[in-house]
């Protein structure tokens, strides 16, 4: 009797699971089989689940908004755009799987992604081999675009952005001694920290101490206590907003009263929510300043806030940017052909996006200026602009 009951239950579970799997997709995200003749399919692979889910979801929101706005204006080349987003779970095997699936099953003409440089390297190799153009919105490691001529990006590369803050700290703020607090689980942070250290030392400054943490940590009292014991005039924290806010509060709590410096990973409304008063008086580099932004940028922020009920983070803005650059390239290519689209992306010149004027250079990286923002009274304000 027990065996019969168990077999029945397992059979039921198996049937339920099988029907759930073969059941048609949830209507919310339009995934689907091969594109119909009247559509251009664009793929986005990002970590929508897992420990970096909020980054992938942020970026996807920006991409989605751009695609929907383009469709509202009649699409591209007379056809509607279809966006397929696949989850990578923050795993490099999944990243390669996702790109393969986008190409083989969804039949995309181009791919956007990934957020993390190591995942972009994994997926980029597939895209390069299959000759599908890929634009990474946020991967900053220089190696990403070195994979091949089909891989592009729309964000700063680490060497440039690290140098920006180093120059700012040295020339504008006139600091001699700076401490570094970097995220060792995050190649973005490591890259920025290295670039900053090189540029700052070359400009005559000294790095008094280098401390580290791991993305996801919540306790920074040990590192802050250690930095408090040095003569640092500022701390360079090239991490993501989730940790930076807490670091600022911990520093404030433990009596470390020096300004913090950072990169575009700070850009998020959560930075002010978490950091509170402690983050005032700090500086970070970014793509555009919300208070002196162009009309296009301000329209983007307004539309994003209206659609999603929250202001965009830097990742969302870059996702939007990458999608815009792609859409523009498809227009210029004149046809829905991957290699023509690739050539058009490479030829992008003075494209007016929401993060400044973009020209794609010979290394397939964007040439654009960075702005340095100062945090005052819970808002980021324009401080200065630094060109490449």
């Amino acid at each position: 009797m027990r065996i019969l009951r168990r077999t029945l239950i397992s059979g039921l579970c198996a049937t339920a699971l099988a029907s759930a799997i073969s059941c048609k997709k949830s209507p919310a995200d339009s995934t689907g089989s091969a594109a119909e003749a009247g559509e251009i399919v664009v793929g986005h692979y990002a970590s929508m689940t897992g420990s970096t889910a909020h980054f992938g979801q942020d970026t996807d929101r920006g991409v989605r908004l751009a695609i929907e706005e383009a469709n509202a204006q009649g699409g591209v080349l007379g056809k509607k755009l279809k966006l397929v987003t696949l989850d990578t779970r923050g795993d490099s095997a999944e990243a390669a799987n996702a790109v393969n699936r986008l190409i083989d099953v969804e039949k995309v003409s181009a791919v956007l992604g990934e957020v993390a440089s190591s995942l972009s390297l994994a997926g980029g190799r597939v895209a390069q081999r299959r000759k599908i153009p890929m634009i990474s919105p946020t991967s900053t490691n220089p190696k990403v675009t070195e994979v091949g001529d089909y891989i592009f990006r729309v964000c700063f590369i680490d060497p440039f952005q690290g140098k920006v803050m180093a120059i700012f700290a040295r020339n504008n703020l006139k600091f001699d001694k700076v401490a570094i607090l970097k995220d060792v689980k995050n190649d973005y942070s490591i890259g920025l920290a290295d670039a900053f250290q090189k540029a700052f030392s070359a400009a005559g400054g000294t790095i008094v101490v280098e401390q580290s943490y791991s993305q996801g940590d919540t306790d920074f009292s040990a590192q802050v206590t250690a930095i408090r014991g040095t003569a640092a005039q500022a701390v360079f924290v090239p991490g993501y907003y989730s940790e930076v806010g807490t670091i600022a509060r911990t520093a404030d709590r433990l009596g470390l009263k020096v300004p913090l410096l950072g990169g575009d990973g700070w850009d998020s409304p959560d930075l002010f929510k978490i950091g509170g008063d402690a983050i005032n008086g700090s500086y970070f580099s970014d793509h555009f300043a919300p208070d002196v932004a162009s009309a296009k940028s301000q329209a983007f922020v307004a539309n994003f806030s209206k659609k999603y009920g929250q202001a965009p983070t830097g990742l969302g803005a870059l996702g939007y940017e990458a999608a815009l650059v792609l859409i523009d390239a498809i227009k210029r290519a004149g046809k829905n052909d991957p290699s023509a689209i690739r050539d058009a992306i490479a030829a992008t010149k003075d494209f007016e996006g929401v993060t400044g004027k973009i020209t794609i250079d010979a290394q397939r990286n964007p040439q654009k200026s960075a702005v340095v923002l100062k945090v005052e009274a819970g808002k980021a304000k324009f401080e200065t602009s630094i060109a490449p």
Binding site: I9, D87, A93, S117, S118, L121, G124, K143
Partner: protein
């Protein structure tokens, strides 16, 4: 004569795999091909883990660490060897194959040694404590790789070429190694040594009373299991652009556990089925978007409550074909402390 027959069988099998490869590459999209390769790698992982968890009954939940050691080891050795070997033999498929297999063996060696180092102190413990210690070692290995700057730290090791590690892994090599490892472990499990391992699982104290050198056997089985995980890691590394510590988190160890649980703890054919299941099911569940992982966890809980012995228990597929009552008891292993 018997050696010649064995050689002939081996050659025939290899030829068959090669033929299958041509068929698969012609008939399926790259996307599906990759899933097939991942399934093969999973089979190696599952069958290897089954040796220590299933057959010997010693529960290890940190095996992703050994996979990592094998992956990094194979990648590193492969990159360093490629130059000298190509210098000697010139470019071409033969030199590539030589470098690849040497790299895999190196990875397996590193992983096996790591298994010895981890196993020797740990296998004095039983049951839950052993599980947590292996978990701890798995995490320590991952943290060490995360801080190893000559191996790329958190970004990962991508070799010297901008396009990443050479893509040696293909259908032929994966399934050649699958066949080899499954055959080896099958022979081991059904040999005298294998029976001793099963005895250790069923009642370690009684086995020791019967003069079974249980600690030595446990450590050996552990090291072999680690080495196979290393082979799988090496194969995995060479179908990716690079290897990162994040790919070998605790979740990977859990995946390996799910593989052998679903198929049946103690059954080699079960492990094979489980390995394929895990590779395929997550891809199939993609349509469920962010509910995927929640449902996967629920599935695990349901299996443990409803049918903890998995699909096959400790039986093998060929037991069903023979239609004879098998000698092994269908009860899952006891992990008494």
């Amino acid at each position: 004569m018997r050696a010649a027959i064995r050689l002939a069988i081996a050659a025939a099998v290899l030829l068959a795999i090669y033929g299958l490869m041509l068929g698969v590459e012609a008939g399926f999209t790259e996307y599906v091909q990759r899933i097939i390769l991942l399934a093969g790698i999973n089979v190696i992982l599952a069958v290897g883990l089954n040796l220590i968890n299933g057959t010997t009954g010693q529960f290890s939940i940190g095996h992703a660490g050994f996979m990592a050691v094998g992956a990094y080891g194979a990648a590193f050795v492969g990159v360093k060897l490629a130059g000298p070997v190509h210098g000697l033999l010139g470019p071409g498929a033969f030199a590539d194959a030589l470098v690849f297999n040497l790299a895999l063996l190196a990875g397996a060696l590193f992983a096996g040694v790591t298994g010895l180092i981890v196993g020797m102190p740990s296998l004095r413990l039983r049951g839950d404590y052993l599980a947590v210690v292996t978990l701890g070692f798995g995490e320590i290995i991952r943290i060490l790789f995360n801080n190893a700057s000559f191996l790329g730290s958190a970004t990962g090791y991508f070799g010297d070429d901008p396009s990443g590690l050479p893509a040696y892994t293909n259908f032929f090599w994966v399934f050649a190694w699958v066949t080899l490892i499954v055959a080896l472990i099958h022979n081991l499990t059904f040999s005298q040594t294998g029976r001793s391992l099963t005895a250790i699982r069923e009642d370690e104290i009684a086995a020791e009373a019967m003069a079974t050198p249980s600690t030595r056997l446990k450590v050996t089985a552990f090291a072999i299991s680690a080495a196979t995980a290393g082979i799988a890691g090496g194969l995995f590394a060479h179908m990716q652009a690079g290897v990162r510590p994040e790919d070998f988190r605790f979740e990977k160890s859990i995946d390996m556990i799910v593989m052998i649980i679903v198929g049946g703890l103690g059954s080699i054919s079960g492990a094979i089925l489980g390995g394929i299941f895990v590779a395929v099911s997550l891809e199939l569940m993609r349509d469920l978007q962010q509910y995927r992982l929640v449902l996967y966890a629920l599935l695990l809980i349901l299996i443990m409550i409803v049918r903890p012995e998995g699909l096959l228990g400790t039986r093998e597929l060929h037991h069903f074909l023979r239609r004879k009552k098998s000698a092994t008891t269908p009860a899952p292993p006891t992990g008494r402390a």
